[in-house]
């Protein structure tokens, strides 16, 4: 039976969306990115969710601005906030595998439930996928497939794509695999979205 997931605030407006929502955030301004991320992550902390942030390429810079935003202040004392290098999370052992990442997300949810958190939200900086890491060519396949995993686990996720490093045609594909997108601080339905079946059949068929 499909689990019922509560609606959760995302930090931008009073509108709530079901836990397990999968969003992409295409940005070209670091200032805007930090503002959006601070709002999104803080909203999760406020309702007792466990928050994981996957920073790329290293966590040092992210820890600084997340601390300034008050998000990572308690990272050293509690496990509610976890800031990790994106490459080590997405590509354990130096290889990216959608299946392994799906399992990582499921395990993270299980751990969080055991620790009695009210929910889980994550966000990842996706620049690692442009560095030629083995398996990173399956990124869009992963993004399509995770549309099954997130509603199943109730993990709310926002994937960050820097428009300064991703080309325009790939950004269109990124939009096709995210049902929601963040635009100017609002989460909106993404009209480019294609169901995973549709997308995988059209673009990822062997």
């Amino acid at each position: 039976m499909k689990p019922v997931r509560p609606d959760v605030p995302l930090g931008f407006t009073r509108t709530k969306l079901p836990a397990g929502t999968h969003m992409c955030f295409v940005y070209d301004s670091e200032e805007e990115r930090r503002r959006v991320m601070a709002q999104y992550l803080a909203a999760g902390l406020e309702i007792g969710e466990r928050v994981a942030y996957f920073a790329d390429p290293t966590v040092e810079g992210a820890l600084d601005w997340l601390s300034e935003a008050g998000v990572a202040a308690c990272a050293g004392e509690s496990r509610q906030v976890q800031v990790s290098p994106a490459e080590s999370v997405y590509c354990p052992g130096g290889r990216f595998s959608p299946e392994v990442m799906f399992e990582t997300l499921r395990e993270f949810r299980r751990e969080s439930d055991t620790a009695h958190y009210n929910g889980v939200r994550v966000s990842g900086e996706m620049g690692w996928a442009l560095r030629g890491i083995p398996g990173s060519d399956r990124l869009l396949e992963y993004e399509a497939g995770v549309n099954y995993v997130l509603p199943e686990t109730g993990i709310t996720a926002m994937c960050q794509y820097d428009a300064n490093i991703w080309d325009g045609a790939t950004i269109l594909h990124i939009l096709r695999v995210h049902p929601m997108m963040v635009v100017h601080g609002h989460v909106v339905q993404n009209p480019y979205y294609m169901t995973p079946e549709e997308y995988l059949r059209k673009y990822c068929a062997a």
Binding site: V26, N164, P191
Partner: protein, 333 residues
């Protein structure tokens, strides 16, 4: 449409544009706003516009403002149509579509035209922003240059706003900005934001001419330069004052106390020399002398010995001896 209708093939099919497609066209603009370059915008649109039903090929040409874009394909070609990306004044490019048929693309053409206009406006906004940023960068460079000059100049600089009493008399001023040399030369610290009467108590009474001159420059806008002995600080100052804005003045000053002291020393030395010279008796002009006995006639008409005359008219003194020639004449062997 009845099969017998002679215009059957010329009429567009009786279908409207699909909502999902229109939704994507509308959303394209917000995605484009996040893309930092025209190249990325063109890549995105080239791929996205292929989703429009009836479109079999698409070339998006976007360029910076004022760059002429290659003339799009012939509009009479039934398998191509062009949407110009232009505002009233500038061209930013074009979308060139290859279409299956006129009829298939027809429902979307107005929306594609609207998208072209929106992309043109977005491009124009970016172009204007880039122009603004360029100007701001130039202003910043200029500001930094003048800031460097302001900080490094050897002269004291103060930018002040004049304050007046009820009768319109200049009675005080507020230091809006001063440079490091101001503090170094005047010995006054932290004057920015303070009134001069607060920074230098009694200045109005001791240096009323400053208020008069500064007030006059602010009133007339005519720059002035003057030297003043500024007694509250025991300084001599050479001051240039200009009016940069209504109610304000800038005073640039040099501490000339040392120069003034040197000038005073020189004047004193000259006076002393003059007095000394006055005491020195000099002989000048025509002196009437007897061609025979060599006596000199003085101013009163008396004939006196030459040594007496010279002794009386100069500080020279005589010692008496006999020259070899006279010795021979007076005491022959």
């Amino acid at each position: 449409v009845p099969p017998s209708d002679p215009h059957r093939d010329a009429r567009p099919p009786d279908v409207g544009a699909g909502a999902p497609v229109l939704g994507r066209l509308l959303s394209a603009l917000v995605v484009l706003e996040a893309l930092p370059t025209t190249a990325k915008m063109a890549e995105f649109l080239t791929a996205a516009l292929l989703d429009v039903p009836g479109v079999t090929g698409c070339e998006v040409r976007l360029g910076p403002a004022c760059v002429p874009v290659e003339e799009p394909l012939d509009s009479s070609d039934p398998h191509h149509f062009t949407v110009r990306v232009e505002t009233g004044g500038r061209s930013y490019g074009a979308f060139v579509f290859e279409i299956e048929s006129e009829a298939a693309a027809a429902p979307y053409r107005p929306f594609l035209t609207n998208l072209g206009a929106s992309v043109a406006l977005l491009s124009e906004n970016r172009w204007q922003r880039s122009q603004l940023e360029r100007v701001l960068a130039e202003v910043q460079v200029s500001e930094e240059r003048y800031r460097g000059l302001f900080e490094a100049m050897l002269e004291g600089f103060s930018y002040c706003r004049m304050l007046y009493d009820d009768q319109g008399q200049a009675v005080d001023w507020i230091y809006l900005a001063v440079n490091p040399a101001f503090e170094q030369l005047s010995g006054l610290d932290n004057v920015t934001g303070r009134r001069v009467t607060e920074a230098i108590p009694g200045v109005r009474e001791s240096s009323p001419e400053l208020f008069e001159i500064y007030g006059r420059v602010v009133a007339t806008g005519v720059p002035e330069r003057f030297q003043i002995e500024f007694t509250p600080l025991s300084l001599w100052l050479d001051i240039s004052v200009v009016k940069p804005a209504d109610g304000c003045f800038v005073a640039v000053f040099e501490n000339i106390t040392a120069r003034k002291k040197a000038e005073a020393d020189r004047e004193r030395l000259i006076d002393e020399l003059r007095k000394t010279l006055d005491e020195v008796k000099t002989l000048r002009g025509f002196i009437p002398i007897c061609a025979s006995c060599k006596k000199i006639r003085d101013d009163e008409g008396y004939w006196t010995q030459v040594e007496t005359y010279i002794s009386e008219h100069s500080n020279a003194e005589f010692s008496h001896g006999i020259c070899p020639e006279c010795m021979g004449r007076l005491y022959p062997r």
